[in-house]
Amino acid sequence: MKILVSCKRVPNPEQKLKFSGAAVDLSAASWQVNPFDEYAVETALRLTEKGKGGERAGEVVLISIGPKEVAQQMRGLLAMGADRGLLVGGDDAALDPDQVARVLRAVVAAEKPDLVVLGKQSVDGDSNQVGQLLAGYLGWPQATFLASIVLAADGKSATVTREVDAGVEEKKIPLPAVVTVDLRIIGKKAVRNAALAGPEAEWEDNQRYASLKGIMAAKKKEIREVTAASLGVTASPVVKTIHQEPPPPRKAGVKVASVEELVAKLRTEAKVL
């Protein structure tokens, strides 16, 4: 089982966003891995494990697009347990989802994974497109917004549950396929490869931390730097950012002292009761 996982860096979402002119200013941002991509790595690792702390079978390959500095974030994911990385040089701030999907398509053609796992969206661009675009370009089945995944023992299909507006949808897809993961995928029993782990297998809640051993091992793992051109990708952007601004601030609210005052204000001032 070879699994390709895409990852990107995002500015720390807890930091206040700065603006310069009509654009977001990320010059002083502190970078981290997109949280959903960490979940994707955790998902891929569990799919190659016999259970928590058990033996592994299979390979998890990371792919990221960005400047050389992104190797730092990739190194953290290698320390979690991913096997090797591919860093495609580029200006990650200027990429649109379509360009990312086209690069991934080329990487899939070269690496021939059984499964591609992505975060459902990045928390900066919030586009929620790349997995679906990639599946469309490849003509592969897709399963988005996964809450759980079980790989069949024969390795030929996966049964997943997906977070949908009305509840939870169960879907079965043959491999190779593209999946994107949502928050619930990092639950104790959300991910399992039936060829390796029985129904009783469980992991810790949440994505794993890198162990000291993992950090040491990651230093020796390969991050191969390539260019989009060397992959045969020359995609020009299909969307362009023309203006960015902060949302209008909400007018300052008031603290009320009692339930009676609250209800009175909601009736007479806000007129919503």
């Binding site: 379509d98 919030d126 679906q132 949908v164 507006d165 299909v238 969307v239 603290k255 009320v256 009761l273």
Partner: protein, 319 residues
């Protein structure tokens, strides 16, 4: 300039109310493009007639193979329809189905896509929230064809026209699911209005401590005829089903009145409710970030405040 195609989701022979905002956005876009609004109904059967009340034309692909929304089958039909129509845009509401299917259709059409638009600013320019709603970004789609998913809370639902447009049956041709199949839907049963459409939303957070305690919020919710919501922390802790989650990664709501109870106000939660007209925060921690976006804040324990609030509202409404 061509038509604007709009994917309408259907249920029980009618257009889903969640698709009505997409029709409004499609109409706005059609004014820029100078073409008709053409509703695309897939596997909808009788709902095509309902769709005709909102669109200039309806193309109905009434194949049983399209009855359930699979991205593998729906995306090629959408792409085929857009090509056959010579349409210049394809839109749908940013429901879980829209978010799943539209980008795949965009790939098949080699079209640029704008996700979760909050405004149509030109034939190919849109405003959309990024960075969890902390930046409003205007983007221009550079391809001849435009694909956009529509944030439901930012466009009013379309109203029916006096004269319905014609319904034209279309043949989807062979439908290939690529081996994918929908096994089942485990729907959350609720007698309350849809979270994304409710005029009032009452949400509980981690501080509610247990699912049992949400009963007190349900009483307040039902008194106000609203929908029940929750923060990610409450959903993660299993107090309520996941589909009640409001936030950047849950549902985006913009009711007239949003009451946040025992919710601290993490950025990712605020992204899902900042657009509410009036926000009330009830939290025992006076320093909780939720108070920074609240129009009215009340510092106190939900255990005492919520029953008192419910009683007070009953009293004034009865009086």
């Amino acid at each position: 300039m061509g038509a604007v195609a709009v994917l309408l989701e259907t249920a029980g022979g009618t257009v889903r109310s969640t698709s009505l905002p997409a029709l409004t956005a499609a109409r706005q876009l059609a004014q820029h493009h100078g073409g008709q609004v053409v509703a695309l109904v897939l596997g909808g059967g009788a709902a095509a007639a309902d769709a005709a009340r909102y669109a200039d034309r309806v193309w109905s692909y009434d194949s049983p193979a399209l009855a359930t929304p699979l991205a593998e089958t729906w995306a090629p039909v959408l792409a085929g329809a857009v090509k056959k129509l010579g349409a210049s845009a394809l839109v749908a509401s940013a429901t879980s189905t829209g978010k799943d299917v539209l980008p795949r259709a965009a790939a098949l059409l080699e079209a640029g896509m704008a996700t979760d638009i909050t405004a149509v600013r030109g034939p190919k320019t849109f405003r959309r929230p990024t960075f969890a709603g902390n930046a409003l970004t205007d983007i221009e789609v550079l391809t001849p064809l435009v694909v956009a998913s529509v944030r439901q809370t930012e466009f009013p639902p379309a109203t029916a026209a006096a004269a319905p447009g014609p319904v034209e049956a279309q043949d989807a041709g062979p439908v290939d699911a690529l081996g994918a199949e929908l096994v089942g839907l485990h729907a959350t049963k609720s007698v309350r209005p849809e979270l994304t459409e409710a005029q009032v939303v009452v949400s509980g957070g981690r501080g509610m401590k247990s699912g049992e305690n949400f009963k007190v919020l349900e009483q307040l919710t039902d008194l106000l005829g609203g929908a029940l919501g929750a923060s990610r922390a409450a959903a993660d802790a299993g107090m309520v089903p996941n589909d009640l989650q409001v936030g950047q990664t849950g549902k985006v709501v913009a009711p007239k009145l949003y009451i946040a109870v025992a919710i601290s106000g993490a950025i990712q939660h605020l992204a899902g409710m900042k657009g509410s007209k009036v926000i009330v925060a009830i939290n025992k921690d006076a320093e909780a970030p939720i108070f920074q976006v609240a129009d009215y804040g009340l510092v106190g324990n939900w255990e005492t405040v919520i029953p008192a609030l419910t009683a007070e509202i009953k009293k004034v409404k009865g009086g």
